[in-house]
Symmetry: C4
Subunit: 197 residues, 4 copies
């Protein structure tokens, strides 16, 4: 029992370390403009926008990861591997963000950017199924689980739609991603079952 807790705690701390490095390096990769003028800074708006969206997304992913691990009982072998898969897809965000910013929101990078968001959500869903659904927790009602699952599928659907849309209208794809993030901003459903904030 005590060992189970340690295992889960170390996994949580390790994941937090990875999140902390990813979210920080993301913003650090923004290179200052060559000229020392406000105009040169404003020229960088696609960089600013894509980094802002990525920061917001990683923040949401961290919050959801945090919530999920409050419910997780133990770090089984599978939970560890799904977590690594989840962290791997999150760690691809800075790469695609940089590509998106450098191309100033071109079609291929916008689409790949949305695809990574889909991967992050799929690995998160796998992590949820493994760590919550397979355990017989009585404090999560069937209704809450259904709502939660529905929201996950809708999010994956919307991000997939954004990936397809971006092939023709990259800006529309990015706009759809921003819209999804607003929907995803609060982990309400899971939260409703817990006093924990």
């Amino acid at each position: 029992m005590a060992q189970h807790r340690t295992g889960k705690e170390r996994l949580t701390l390790f994941s937090d370390g990875v999140f902390a490095v990813i979210i920080t390096i993301l913003v650090l990769e923004m290179k200052p403009p060559d000229e020392a003028t406000f105009g040169a800074l404003l020229e960088l708006w696609p960089t600013g926008l894509s980094y802002g969206v990525s920061y917001l997304f990683i923040a949401i992913v961290w919050i959801n990861h945090h919530h999920l691990f409050n419910f997780t009982e133990s770090a089984t072998q599978r939970v560890v591997w799904y977590n690594f898969a989840h962290l791997f897809s999150v760690s691809l965000i800075p790469f695609t963000t940089e590509w998106l910013a450098e191309s100033r929101l071109a079609a291929a990078p916008s689409s790949i950017y949305a695809v990574i968001f889909v991967f992050v959500n799929i690995t998160y869903l796998a992590l949820c199924w493994e760590s919550v659904d397979r355990t017989s927790q009585t404090n999560i009602s069937q209704r809450v689980r259904r709502l939660f699952r529905m929201r996950s599928f809708i999010t994956i659907g919307l991000f997939t739609a954004a990936a397809v849309l971006a092939l023709w209208w990259p800006v529309a794809g990015i706009a759809l991603i921003c819209l999804c993030l607003v929907l995803y901003v609060r982990p309400d459903v899971l939260q409703a079952t817990s006093a924990d904030g």
Copy 2:
């Protein structure tokens, strides 16, 4: 109750991870001179100055964050988001520091540098209001809160003044920032209410 503590602790650890990466990478971004002479090293004084000031500022921000979280009772949804906003503004410091250093203290980068300091303070103030003021803590007297708030507004005012001043006299703006940091170096007011160091 136990869950509340976990939530707050994980938020603290995550924030510390982000602070650790930001403060370290800040110094790591200093590129060594091309020539292997002392003269070439001395030539880098604007880089040294701006990195020193940024390091000091992030240290102060960390200390204040640390103090604040000693008083914070639980990590509510709002505390989490204001904390992400605070970390986001802190994470912009290396970007502006690099721009400031590369331009050798030009007007626009100096002004933007001060603006980021204002953002860091505003998000910190929001975090304070959310995590301390809204809770009915009897161990923080009204007088202490008033003093603390006054100091926050003075700091924000001084950094804003530095941002405007830097448009015409960048060096004066940077000097005013340095002066502010000396004022901000000790979180005395909050500390006076607690034996905790």
Copy 3:
């Protein structure tokens, strides 16, 4: 007793911090293609492959490190130094990965890549001997230890073979490494003695 635990805990947390930075920066070092097309992204397949393999390897190393420290009773001076040697060899992975990717799987980088894998395993074996074998733990049977040791030697042998093979057929060497990783994916033997996942 309490101090022993603190020491071990701090060593674990420090190691996790190092692992978190290594695994993250590894993926962050992937530079986006210059052109904004899917073709340009596909051109990067050697980069993608080598980063994927390295990520998987570091994940396996972390899991094994995690398991080992569950059995470690105290962080002696030697455990601390073997752990630093282990982390040092792990920290060379991004360097060799980048060389491997840039050379598009050439002979010398492929061989050095396998050599680093050998170093990681040798330092891990030293860490095992020091932290588990020298303590008289009754909950690890002789049979389990023998199995575990045998598996370690086979792994080191296979990685050494991959290092030699890569000198003539780099792709075969990399393929052999991938095969080893599949064998190493589950720390079953040690796990069999513990309910801990």
Copy 4:
């Protein structure tokens, strides 16, 4: 009391985060050779040597920091600031290491490299005085303190000598630094008073 522990713990964790990032990024800054041959790798020996020495030094600094914080009772304002000064000097190591490696052990970089080692030791000594000497700990005898202080002064003297020596014979300065590190490798004196490893 409980709050004191939290403060010290958070300071320890934050410091560990900074150490983890510094020691990792140090090795990550090694850039792979342009050619995919063993000869090109061997050409990088000054890089390899300087990174190896820096890694060893940071490992020693971490171990000493760890030992010191086992004795530290509470994180006072001064301990926090001396710790930031210590971390700042440690964070300059990658910068000087890179300069040293790029110049292939030239005079000025070798001397500055030794100067940073002196700074790291001075800030460590200040941290020791503040956190151990000023508290009335009966479990550290006068004799142990005297031995410890003597060793610190000898180390600072040797690193200063290395800084001067390096101005004329850089390789001799670096050799003297390596010699010092061997002396410093075990925190025996402090350890003798504690069963903690």
